[in-house]
């Protein structure tokens, strides 16, 4: 809180701009969960200051409420971090920028890769994974403390990133994974605590544009944002304490995008080494070290008569077969997104995706109204289909219809 206050006072010495939004989403679940409805609320406020021609600062505070974990298990508890309510730094950094050189330090969101919406290469910045609606994926990021520099030479750039402290994603509700097991126990999840400068993260990216093609190659060493789980203690019928742990991972990748006629073709190829994934055994859960290869190819169209299309083919593959794993070894996903602008104020969005191996599918629909410059409202729903015996069908618990309200402000 003191940090916020200090930065607020510092920024007020200079002429600053303020803005932000607050949003509320009310969900009605269509499956039998602990709660029949859920809520997600967000409040963000920022201050931006041009300190001089070369220095710029941004201070952002965020408040978030997400009931999802509790909706799936009313006996859910967390230690070290609250999955339900959080007050945290949004993008809060100081930037130095002069011709061809940028240095930026603070809490930042760093995104690599060429795909968007469904982006395997967006692995550096943690997320709230309870935001399952794909269109909200970009809003689910949580900035990490880091120092980055970028050198620009012609159409080429070199980026270096250093992270002094690891931060992690908010995981899916664990009740989703266990299905009928551990139904009677109070579930307590212990989040891993990290300290400043005890462990270090870092990586680099090189990007260039050659004859109409954007190319980038990158590598990053870090603590996996997604946890693997270990049972700390289990008293059948009473309590289960689970620890979320995070493996040290090295990721390397390559991305491209290019224009093909009126379309844009994008691709991301990524390898994560030394990840850990879980499998469920008769006596509990085990974790296994694996490498994971991810590929995504997408094609998007310009807007034709108000319609735009986005087709995605993606594959994620583990190098090891793990029995009763929380995920299948190979996931092949096909997806189609259609956006229709009915008027400049009304927009419809249809997203369909299919796990081609598991025969599970999902449908996300949203119709949004832009009431004025400040207010958007939306109605929609997310629906998942598949056999209950299938691990991917865990998402069926998320089936819901929703209404959403978002209000932007600036002063």
């Amino acid at each position: 809180m003191l940090k916020f206050l200090f930065l607020f006072i510092f920024n007020n010495i200079y002429a600053s701009k303020y803005g932000g939004y607050f949003s509320v989403k009310e969900k009605k679940y269509l499956e039998d969960n602990s709660s029949s409805s859920g809520s997600v609320g967000n409040f963000r406020i920022y201050e931006e200051t041009n300190i001089s021609k070369t220095f710029f600062s941004k201070l952002e505070g965020r408040v978030e409420y997400n009931s999802t974990a509790l909706d799936f298990n009313d006996k859910y508890r967390t230690k070290n971090r609250d999955d339900l309510f959080d007050l945290y730094f949004g993008e809060t950094y100081l930037r130095y920028k002069r011709s061809g050189f940028i240095l930026q330090g603070g809490y930042q969101e760093i995104v690599w890769g060429e795909s968007f919406g469904f982006n395997y290469a967006d692995f550096i910045t943690p997320k709230n994974l309870n935001s399952t609606f794909l269109s909200e994926a970009d809003d689910s990021r949580r900035p990490i403390p880091s120092l980055q520099s970028k050198i620009l030479i012609g159409d080429t750039s070199f980026q270096l990133i250093y992270g002094p402290k690891s931060e992690f994603s908010i995981n899916y509700p664990l009740a989703m994974f266990f299905r009928d097991t551990f139904k009677t126990e109070t579930l307590t999840v212990e989040k891993e605590k990290t300290e400043w400068f005890k462990e270090h993260e870092g990586g680099a990216k090189i990007t260039t544009t050659i004859v109409g093609m954007d190319l980038s190659a990158y590598a990053y060493s870090y603590r996996d944002r997604v946890p693997y789980l270990e049972i700390k203690s289990w008293t059948p019928g009473s309590e289960l304490i689970i620890q979320e742990k995070h493996a040290r991972v090295t990721s390397v990748g390559f991305s491209f995008s290019t224009t093909v006629s009126d379309f844009v073709l994008r691709g991301d190829f990524l390898k994560h080494k030394n990840k850990k994934v879980n499998g469920q055994t008769a006596t509990g859960i085990e974790s296994y070290k694996v490498s994971e290869n991810n590929f995504v190819l997408s094609l998007d169209t310009p807007t034709y008569s108000g319609y735009s299309f986005f087709v995605i083919a993606a594959m994620s593959e583990l190098d090891t077969e793990i029995s009763n794993a929380f995920r299948t070894r190979v996931q092949k996903i096909g997806s189609l997104k259609v956006t229709k602008e009915f008027t400049n104020k009304i927009k419809g969005e249809f997203v369909y995706f299919n796990d081609l191996d598991q025969k599970n599918s999902g449908l996300q629909l949203e119709n949004s109204w832009n009431l004025n410059d400040q207010i958007d409202v939306a109605l929609g729903g997310e629906f998942y289909f598949g056999k209950n015996t299938n691990i991917s069908s865990k998402f069926k618990k998320f089936n819901n219809v929703f209404v959403k309200f978002k209000n932007f402000f600036s002063f």
Partner: protein, 242 residues
């Protein structure tokens, strides 16, 4: 044989020279008209305010124009679209939005998206992008008007064809009809509110109307022109997020 060739060669030279002169003069007219809409093909910045008819909605863009191959527009209002940037560089276009957090390549066709296309906001030079020829000159109650036909030199240009109407008196732009590459008429624009800007009288307002749905109308107000030496690194897509 020599007697047969001589008049042919002389005739061809005359015909070529006449055509070249006619084309050049049409192009000169467009160049003069360009200077009555913007500062021409020199590095400069300006702001554009866009309002739609029957709506209180206002969008504001800051445009950095280095030359016809390098333009950057950044939306500064309203709050929900603030920080959106579009970089046009030769045949490449990138869009940066604050939520996606990176510059993404988009199709050249996207420069036409929106009732007011991205090209309307950031491309004010027609002379560099289009070949021009005079179609006709006619007298009207407002004075003599020249009708020109502008044909796109390449695909990076916003429109396939423009019918452009200029005042014969000072080549001030009056009206334009924009066509897609396919030849379909898209919209009509009127240029108004001529004001002195940096030593030249220039149109500060462009009123764009959909060709079919005439009730769809947007007003673009161009202002705050500044000749400025622009750092070439702001036209690198990797700098859009900063």
């Amino acid at each position: 044989m020599k007697n047969f060739l001589k008049p042919l060669i002389i005739g061809s030279i005359f015909a070529f020279s006449f055509n070249a002169l006619a084309e050049m003069s049409a192009l000169e007219m467009v160049k003069k008209a360009d200077l009555k809409r913007g500062l021409g093909n020199i590095p400069h910045t300006f702001n554009v305010e866009v309002t739609n008819k029957n709506s209180d909605r206002k969008e504001v863009y800051k445009v950095s124009f280095k030359d016809i191959n390098n333009t950057l527009s950044e939306q500064t209002e309203p709050e929900k679209n603030k920080g959106r940037k579009m970089l046009m560089k030769d045949y490449d276009i990138w869009l940066f939005t604050p939520n996606i957090k990176k510059a993404i390549r988009i199709s050249l066709e996207q420069k036409l998206t929106g009732e007011v296309s991205n090209g309307d906001i950031s491309k004010t030079n027609y002379a560099e992008d289009y070949d021009a020829k005079v179609l006709e000159t006619k007298d009207t109650p407002q004075g003599k008007i020249i009708k020109l036909e502008l044909l796109a030199k390449n695909k990076k240009v916003t429109y396939g064809k423009i019918e452009y109407y200029l005042s014969a008196k000072d080549y001030a732009p009056l009206e334009a009809v924009f066509f897609a590459i396919s030849g379909k008429p898209l919209k009509r624009a009127r240029f108004t509110d001529f004001k002195p800007v940096l030593g030249e009288t220039r149109a500060s307002k462009m009123i764009i109307q959909d060709y079919i749905e005439k009730e769809k109308e947007s007003v673009l107000v161009f202002k705050d022109y500044k000749k400025e030496k622009l750092d070439e690194n702001i036209f690198n897509k990797e700098s859009l997020e900063f």
